[in-house]
């Protein structure tokens, strides 16, 4: 891709692209956002990671001035929000959670119409269409109707649409939810391209691999609070033991037929400072896996998987294993 520079405007003003202090948002008796502080650095990709209902989308809506916070101070592109949110949005590109492309328009028309919302000169938008479509990998789809596009193509067009105003800050709300692996990889590749070009990105997701791949820094959110914050590696190092051994299968060592649960009840505590049983698997979190692995290899029936701890382990430790509906 030759057109690195023109897609976004990297590092123009010295102010943080987004700073949030003490943000709270209450609906009736429920506090959906309960005190969030956030300061984006220029050129970084910051990821808000959290289960459904953690307050990610509400935080973004407050940041964009689409809803008034109950308390807190927000500055977007250096401007106070919500007071001057509209002006601030001139400098921001947004990829919303749900596709909101105009189904009646072609790809090119979607970009033109969206550019007009920013008051951009029509000839200038038209001149940029080939570049934007190329960035989205939609060169041949200029005059294609939106209905004719796959889910991945629609997301990429939405991403291209968010770049129409050459934003300082790109905000993406769950950009790959609902996409197949090929389509997700293509989106990640495009986002990495933007990150390399110096675009500041704020991204929400509930996919760990997405956060691990893209984030310079991340925060794990639950019930409206930030539980931890830092680079993916630092968060893992700070929050959890480095090694994980997952134990599953049948266990014949307890004087009868049992599963990993029976094994864990008897032995896990001897080898792992912390362990959890979920379904038919015991998760053992350890500093040094060797003694546990030696023990397991002597058992019959049990199977196990030894791996380094990852973000998902941290996430489940902090937010629990119960379902969020």
């Amino acid at each position: 891709m030759q057109a690195d520079r023109p897609l976004t405007l990297a590092s123009r003003s010295p102010a943080s692209p987004l700073s949030i202090r003490g943000l709270r948002k209450r609906y009736g008796d429920t506090e959906v956002v309960a005190g969030i502080d956030l300061e984006l650095r220029r050129g970084e990709c910051f990821t808000l990671l959290g289960p459904n209902g953690a307050g990610k989308t509400t935080t973004l809506r407050c940041a964009l001035g689409l809803t008034a916070p109950s308390a807190g101070e927000i500055r977007l592109a250096g401007l106070p929000v919500p007071a001057r949110a509209r002006e601030a949005r001139m400098r921001v590109g947004i990829v919303p959670q749900q596709d909101s492309l105009d189904p009646d328009f072609t790809c090119a028309e979607n970009l033109i119409v969206y550019g007009r919302y920013f008051g951009l000169d029509e000839a200038a938008i038209r001149a940029r269409i080939p570049e934007l479509l190329a960035f989205a990998g939609l060169e041949g789809k200029r005059d294609a109707r939106i209905q004719a596009l796959s889910g991945g193509m629609k997301r990429r067009l939405t991403l291209a649409r968010a770049l129409v105003n050459r934003p300082d800050l790109l905000i993406l709300d769950e950009p790959t939810t609902g996409l197949d692996p090929q389509a997700r990889h293509l989106i990640w590749e495009r986002l990495k391209h933007l990150i390399r070009a110096g675009t500041t990105i704020l991204l929400t997701t509930h996919f760990m691999d997405e956060a691990e791949r893209l984030a310079d820094r991340l925060a794990i959110l639950d019930t409206g609070r930030m539980l931890t914050e830092g680079s993916p590696r630092d968060v893992i190092a700070a929050q959890i033991e480095p090694q994980v051994v997952e134990v599953y299968g049948d266990w014949n060592g307890g004087g009868g037929a049992g599963g990993a649960e029976a094994w864990a009840a008897r032995h896990a505590a001897a080898f792992a400072r912390r362990f959890e049983v979920s379904g038919e698997t015991a998760f053992c979190y350890v500093e040094d896996a060797a003694p546990l692995l030696a023990h397991l290899s002597a058992q019959t029936g049990l199977r196990y998987l030894h791996r380094p701890a990852n973000l998902e382990d941290v996430f489940l430790k902090l937010t629990g294993r119960e379902l969020r509906d």
Binding site: Y27, L64, G65, L66, T67, A68, P82, A83, A85, R86, E87, R89, M90, I94, P96, Q98, D99, S100, L101, D102, P103, D104, F105, E109, V113, Y114, R116, Y117, F118, G119, N165
Partner: protein
């Protein structure tokens, strides 16, 4: 978003509604022919069906042919319908189903401008189909064309008023089914008592008094004389009532929409 948090603050309007209006116009342009024919078919069928059918039984109303009497009613009726359908069904699609408004509000355009664009667009669309009807009734010689061009601004104003009323419903609607109540409980009864099909002088006094409170009655009080080649009476009163409905309904619709979307 303005700093005041109240949903009832005054509308903050700007020229930023124009690109939103143009977005709707571009969609319409792609489907212009079926759209105009669709908006034209209903009133023209009524006009010919009732105009000739009832016209056989009632040769004259107030000294003019029944079909000429009915023509003004049909222009106002179709203006009302075109504006209402646009803000109800199409507006609801854009607000709720397609998330078009959400996309626009992610750009530097506020909700007030979006709702105002819907209002002006619906009136514009009513004007486009109203002009087509005027052309038909003028071509067939059903009306006196002396003041026919005055109908254009009137249609636009009536379109604004009914678009504003419809936007109140759109702001409240949980789904498309909700709009049925608006038509059955408000639009249809109003059509029957506002002088579309027969002079309101025919109504019992109580109903007639009620009819004079309705915006469609005032639209017809202006449109009918104009299409019969006469200048209407009490012009300021009628215009005031129509504009009053429009302004009050727009303010209410905007407050309700802010509550719905900016929470």
């Amino acid at each position: 978003m303005p700093t005041s948090a109240s949903s009832w603050r005054a509308p903050q309007l700007s020229r930023r509604f124009i690109p939103v209006w143009r977005r709707n116009f571009l969609v319409w342009r792609k489907l212009a022919l079926p759209s105009v024919l669709g908006n034209l078919a209903d009133p023209v069928i009524y006009l010919f069906g009732l105009g000739f059918g009832i016209g056989m039984l009632v040769p004259e109303v107030g000294g003019v042919r029944y079909i000429s009497f009915l023509a003004a009613g049909m222009v106002c009726y179709s203006t009302m319908n075109a504006a209402s359908f646009e803000v109800l069904y199409s507006g609801f699609s854009r607000m709720h189903v397609q998330k078009t408004w959400e996309a626009i509000m992610n750009a530097p355009i506020d909700l007030d401008d979006v709702v105002f664009a819907e209002l002006v667009w619906a009136a514009s669309k009513a004007l486009l189909s109203g002009a087509a009807i005027l052309l038909v009734i003028s071509a067939f010689g059903f009306v006196d064309t002396r003041y026919v061009l005055w109908l254009l601004p009137l249609i636009f104003l009536v379109g604004l008023a009914f678009a504003a009323l419809g936007l109140v419903m759109t702001a409240l609607a949980p789904s498309y089914d909700f709009f049925m109540y608006y038509f059955t409980l408000f639009i249809t009864p109003m059509t029957l008592v506002s002088g579309v099909f027969f002079p309101i002088e025919q109504l019992p006094p109580a109903l007639r008094a009620a009819a004079t409170l309705l915006p469609l009655t005032h639209a017809i009080e202006l449109a009918r004389p104009l299409l019969l080649g006469r200048l209407p009476e009490n012009v300021a009163l009628h215009l005031g009532v129509i504009a009053g409905y429009g302004a009050a309904a727009f303010w209410l619709a905007l407050a309700l929409t802010r509550r719905r979307l900016l929470k």
